[in-house]
Symmetry: C2
Subunit: 340 residues, 2 copies
DNA sequence: AGCATCTTCCAAAGCGCTTTGGCTGCCTAG
DNA sequence: CTAGGCAGCCAAAGCGCTTTGGAAGATGCT
């Protein structure tokens, strides 16, 4: 059933039927009702390919997804996707993932935009002065950045959590508990969020005339293995830290393993705070000692980003709207006063 | 730059240019070269929307993705996606995720197919007599099932791992080590792979005149928490199992936690085997006691499925080709002879 | 009554590609 | 020398929608 047939059926022109269906004013309410009714009865659904060709609108949200032998998709991505999906589903949007090699990212963005495959894209885990942001800005496609960049000479719309604030608060709490040697196990500093987190910790330490010692500032991708190795390195130090703040719960698993191996006890010998992106399959309460966390649901962020992307697609949102979410600091059993 | 302009430029008809570019024979090699050359020089790329409208081909692989408040996307999905992406990228295919509520799945499939949004779909984690398989078969869109169904009255193309064999082998090994009370912590039995795994364990037990005791056969979604609870339930039993086979590494985390809490030692008091889908962020070697696993890379499966989908899209693969991958049984420190 | 102004609808022209159905000119076979 | 065949090209008809530029009829106003 296509427009032609439907309009024939109704003895109306395609124009009128199209307008009736798309809510244009130059059609009487009477006809509109008739049309909508008939469309529903016959299960008419405009062919998206045709519509796309005519309008240039795709009705899809895009994500340029880095892949490759040595690229592992972040497990956080599923959570984000869940959120994005929740919104997209409710609004009949589909998601297009365009896989790309890292060094062909720009080409892929250009292709996706030139082909009008999607109406909006989101950019994830930005780096300082992220080229992708400049690129999508130039290309003129609606977009939202999940996270923030720095050192860009223009403003851009983004949604980020207050990483600096969260890690600042975590560090401050530990300091108040008497900790002086606090370690940070962070993601690679190429990502802005990691930089912000470190900044937060440093700020809290500085406020108490303390500092983040270089040997206590570790960075690595967030795997269990790296958590373990990092913790071993830290805990084998002659003057080991009494507290660790860590950027991910998966890493925290490795840290816990290391303490076990060394017969150290949390929180007696070591206080531990981790960031919790809220996974359904791994909860901070499920640690041998329930984990104190800075918590922010990445799924909720996905949902919100989809919402804002939709708003931008339809022109409801414009400009470089910045949105920063506060982060909960949830205290559980994994922290205690510093050992004397 | 579109076809019209390009053909003007070359003083050729659109027909000829189109044919030259698409490798049709009715154009001289001379002209073809000229055309291809000019196309490259001017960076001409056919508009996919137009092409799609004309041909009905989308150049995209689809996945109908269940979402909703209470639906958590499986963390395995990222791994699968990585694999799919690897292949798709190399072949300039994009992926379309169509989020759907569980009870609107059929509608969504119908929509996606009717709209010709994608040229092929894959179906994941099928259940016995899975309606989706029947549906896509009827709809006539190329598809591959990741996993298997049962009790369908027709054959269908799929890629699965030998779950039954893997769990059979794992159980047999434990039996050979003297274990008699072997527990199985499985995913919900609504999924075929879970059924197969249980079947494998039962078969191995039966071969030694043993059985899978009802109180030792647990099912739950694969979270750390469920692993913990299940293990607690098992280990609190008056006559507790001496070995557990478990369907996921994330669950295994919880099991380990439970043993710790009960001051039991792996493998002295309890042998543990888990299935490893190969996550980059959590490895069996990274357990307090390295985990014996049945191993099969879900990422590799994703890549292979993309490859087969592409083959089906272009008619290279047809029919109900079944592909079952063997599963490695990798022995590490988490198993030992049964305690006496 | 006459003119302007809405309201409501329509025919037709795109959007940019593929594909059908020729048409032309040259070569080959009879 | 001619019919037939073939290689190589083209014009035009879709694909199914949106949108432009009217046109007809109804309505309001003087």
């Amino acid at each position: 059933m296509n427009l032609k047939q439907l309009s024939h059926m109704l003895s109306l022109s395609q124009t009128t039927v199209s307008r009736a269906l798309n809510g244009y004013p130059e059609v009487s309410e009477d006809t509109r009702r008739r049309v909508i009714d008939a469309a529903k009865r016959h299960g008419y659904r405009p062919n998206p390919s045709a519509r796309r060709l005519a309008t240039g609108k795709a009705g899809m949200i895009g994500y340029v997804m880095p892949t490759g032998e040595s690229v592992d998709i972040d497990p956080h991505f599923v959570e984000f996707l869940s959120g994005l999906g929740d919104y997209a589903r409710a609004h009949e949007l589909d998601l297009v993932l365009s896989p790309t090699l890292l060094d062909e990212e720009e080409m892929t963005y250009r292709r996706v935009v030139a082909n009008k495959q999607v109406d909006a894209v989101y950019v994830s885990s930005p780096r300082p002065a992220d080229r992708r942001i400049k690129l999508v800005e130039q290309l003129g496609i609606p977009y939202i950045v999940h996270g923030r960049s720095e050192g860009l000479d223009f403003d851009y719309p983004f949604l980020d959590i207050d990483n600096e604030g969260a890690f600042h608060d975590a560090a401050r709490l530990l300091i108040q508990l008497g900790h002086r040697r606090i370690a940070l196990m962070n993601d690679e500093l190429t990502k802005t969020f990691a930089i912000h987190r470190e900044r937060g910790v440093r700020r809290a330490l500085a406020a108490s005339a303390l500092e983040l010692f270089p040997e206590l500032a570790l960075t690595a991708t967030m795997t269990e293995e790296n958590g373990y190795r990092g913790a071993r390195a830290l805990l084998d130090l002659p003057d080991r830290p009494t507290a660790i703040i860590c950027s991910s719960m998966i890493m925290a698993l490795g840290i816990v393993r290391a303490t076990r191996e060394l017969n150290l006890e949390i929180p007696r010998d070591l206080s531990l705070v981790a960031h919790d992106d809220v996974f359904h399959y791994l909860k901070p309460e499920s640690f041998p000692v329930p984990l104190t966390t800075t918590r922010s649901s990445i799924r909720a962020a996905g949902e919100r980003i989809a919402e804002r992307l939709a708003a931008r697609m339809s022109g409801l949102e414009t400009g470089a709207r910045a949105e920063v979410w506060p982060v909960d600091l949830v205290v559980r059993g994994s922290i205690a006063g510093a050992p004397v």
